[in-house]
Symmetry: C2
Subunit: 92 residues, 2 copies
């Protein structure tokens, strides 16, 4: 299992909602367009495939940032507390 931060910038409201709903199945919504997810290799491939089918590649952007254990331990959160409660929960 690997930890990832997935950020997205989607031009269209409908597509953005679809991307949000897709990511919700894999991890925690920590900011407006940021999820923290924990993925097996199979999950990664499946999630990537689903997102590619939902975005318009010339207008939208999705980025996967891997977070190894060391990087993950260094995360710093300023401001509003975010409860990392697990898959599917919205914590805003």
């Amino acid at each position: 299992m690997e930890h990832y931060v997935v950020t997205y910038d989607i031009a269209d409201d409908k597509r953005r909602m679809k991307v949000f709903k897709t990511l919700k199945d894999y991890g925690t919504h920590v900011q407006e367009s940021v999820f923290e997810v924990v993925l097996t290799t199979e999950d990664y491939v499946a999630l990537r495939h689903k997102l590619l089918r939902r975005i318009h590649r010339d207008e939208d952007s999705v980025i996967f940032y891997r977070q190894c254990r060391a990087c993950e331990n260094d995360v710093e959160r300023l401001g509003r507390k975010v409860e990392l409660v697990g898959i599917g929960d919205i914590v805003l």
Copy 2:
């Protein structure tokens, strides 16, 4: 020098612009509320301090995700190409 992904979720438009302008001095704007920055320890402390002075801690959220060399090499960008041109450039 360390690489970081800085994501932010700012409730107020004016504050959001201030956070954007602050981050622009340190790195590259890759998505609506995501910057990639390269920071010395001093830069990190200074940037953190500036952001804390600009956000409302109960409403806004800023997260620093460190990216070690290995994590950085694994970044995957789907969709719109982002030119990582360097400090201060907006590439949307």
